[in-house]
Symmetry: C2
Subunit: 152 residues, 2 copies
DNA sequence: ATCGTAAAGTAAACCAGGTTGTCCATCTAG
DNA sequence: CTAGATGGACAACCTGGTTTACTTTACGAT
């Protein structure tokens, strides 16, 4: 295969990194959360009052699907649902301590995965790569992509 | 958000590029094929006699799923199934002229998408980015990832 | 004050794209 | 020439989502 398409390489590299992450998590005997769970953590960690509807918008799925994801995370002890402070219809989603611990642990694993890559090409080139990709993503999302969510 | 995770950027960029492709295809009024169909085309275009089982291995799905994909493509006129030249149990998959036309058309669209990116950061930096990603993908697949298929 | 519409949540039916399990026909090694 | 392996087809099922429909609460305009 000559000059693989960069879109293909993006997908393969993403796959390889997340496989690495899941491998480490499996070795530690942790539940395998799906990417959608990870993005939920990031969103909730930003702070503020978050409802299922808002989570769905962020994830790019229906509110029903978002509710289901939040319910799973609640069952596993990562998320709590409290009454919403100002809106009697809504429930406010938040991370438990267990959720916060998980997110910081996974952050460390991402660091490791990036370090493996940096070991191959050097940290400077990796940083340039990050910026090159970020430039395209910003361009594409500015251009009014209706919703720019990752593929999963 | 500080320094987004590169894994996240990879997913977003891949999503943005494929969205762009689908947008163009939709504007041309073509059927929206899924990524799995595209990878099937690439595989069949390599030439040689290909069976459903082999297609499944390449795509990283069961032979039943591969058969279903091939059946769709046959129904739409992109693929033919002929008797296998040497094995009476098997059917040989191949591209029709319509399939070949489709693949070369899509290749042109990928060129356009890459050109948009190159316009942002320059063709040299894009080439460096491609190489940086390719290096990681090769490393990861050499390291014995059981099967390195893209995420879809 | 209250009425009408919008919005959050929940539930149920459905759908797409995969899986596993089973079976038959054919191939191939011994 | 027989026994096990393999390609393919069919069916049942699973998962993660969607759509549709309904209840309850919020809230702006009259």
């Amino acid at each position: 295969m000559n000059e693989p398409r960069i879109a293909f390489l993006l997908a393969m590299a993403h796959r390889a990194m997340t496989d690495r992450l899941h491998q480490w998590l499996a070795e530690e005997g942790r539940e395998a959360l799906r990417p959608a769970h990870g993005y939920t953590f990031r969103f909730l960690a930003e702070g503020g009052v978050v409802t299922s509807v808002e989570l769905g918008q962020r994830l790019g799925v229906s509110k029903q699907a978002a509710t289901k994801i939040a319910a799973e995370l609640e069952e596993w002890g990562y998320v709590v649902r409290r009454p919403h402070p100002t809106d009697g219809r809504a429930r406010a989603l938040g991370l438990t301590q267990r959720g916060l611990d998980y997110i910081s642990h996974v952050d460390g694993l991402w660091d490791e995965a990036e370090a493996e890559w940096a070991a191959l090409i050097g940290p400077e080139r990796l940083e340039e790569t990050r910026e090159a990709i970020a430039a395209y993503v910003e361009h594409a999302s500015a251009k009014g992509a209706p919703l720019l969510r990752p593929v999963w």
